[in-house]
Symmetry: D2
Subunit: 143 residues, 4 copies
């Protein structure tokens, strides 16, 4: 019926929402946890991520994408859709060893028109490899 | 002999240097032009870049990677190696239509320890879709 | 009459608009030049700007303020009011020697809701001491 | 004697170190608290901080300066000197009401060559008005 409450978001339904996107699928994203203001994602290592053929560490472009995705979905999961990124900053802290990466996103400030979120990315050894923050559009998109 | 001048960098040799990296190869990077302070790269569209299955525009993570790569190689091509990115900022200006992307990088300030470069990304229609800047380590890496 | 054209903006009227703000007044801002997409401001040196009592160079906080003000007014002068800054990035390139500073702002991308502008700051010797970019709200403020 | 331990840093000695700088003095900086990885500063309101004569809120340039100073001193207090800022990002969250401002800085990642710190600025009502992060040079300055 029309006044039914929306089905509660589960880890599985959130993950299904995220991996509808081909790039997210390519990143092999899984949802590890989430609550009202944060999300924890895992990305599945691919050989294509490497900076160099003879060195295993992951390219900064992948880390930047994970900062963006985790910061965005810290917000997006409660709005039911990804928000356009207005801009973002990424800091690189250490080379990312080969293997899956974990990205934790968190809302810094929610606003009705745009919001600021941050994210940190860890490699399989639990080492902080990158972190950053971005501004996301939360107002209704232009029709 | 030991005092031979290094072979001059050509468009082909620079491109070969860049695509040695698996992630750069996956991005289908080609060198369109370069001079002492700048570089112009083209990335070859892949379906995996899409944000959504039903909408063709390219994910911001790909645009961020291209800002980083073009800013880095504006500098790197004259040093013969990519420089580690310390941090970067990306601004998103418009949805990127499907198709190849062109990224133009330029040095803002060269320094002996770290340098600042900027880059702009254009879609196939010539529309500016993203731009940004980053700080790159130009001092010798830690041994 | 009601359909009279607004008086043309002059260097003097723009400067008067900017220095209505107490902080802008304290910065001793003067308009050197402007056109549709850019503005060039000069800030008048004060001893309070110094980082240290025994070293004359100007504090990075002043340089950040000048990046913000010049980027903002590259846009603001054609809208007749300063735009709220959503966020900004500043890169520091060299210590700023004592003396007046010149800040040049330019629009990178104008948008109906928010816009991106950049600015560069030069010291009296003409040396580039800082540069950066910011996102500014161009939509009508919330009532 | 030469092998004496350095005198322990106290709130008073740290504050004295910070306000040696003329700009810091003008900001009326006081140290409220500090530990190994963080610092909490208070800045004393001045009428010159205002954006507009008829509106009391504080200019974004002041907020940017406070983000920079608090992020820097989260690190600096344990090194006994301020570190040069390489670059920084500031996000603006809300207009800052007139009155003193509190800036809390924290180290995100300490490195032997450069470090990343973040800071948040609160107005007298305890409202988060700005936050940001910067990269600071921690290697020995060039001689």
């Amino acid at each position: 019926v029309s006044d039914a409450a929306p089905p509660a978001l589960t880890r599985e339904s959130l993950e299904a929402m995220i991996v509808r996107g081909p790039f997210h699928q390519w990143l092999g994203l899984k949802v590890r946890a989430f609550d009202a203001d944060s999300v924890e994602l895992e990305a599945t290592y691919r050989d294509e991520w490497r900076v160099r053929a003879d060195a295993q560490y992951t390219h900064g472009g992948i880390l930047a994408a994970l900062v963006d995705v985790a910061a965005d979905w810290a917000l997006a999961h409660r709005m039911g859709r990804a928000q356009p990124t207005i801009d973002m900053r990424v800091d690189y802290h250490a080379p990312a060893n080969p293997g899956n990466l974990v990205a934790k996103g968190r809302i810094i400030k929610f606003g009705s028109r745009f919001s600021v979120c941050e994210a940190s990315v860890y490699d399989t050894g639990g080492q902080l490899v990158a972190s950053g923050r971005g501004t996301y559009l939360t107002m209704a998109p232009k029709s």
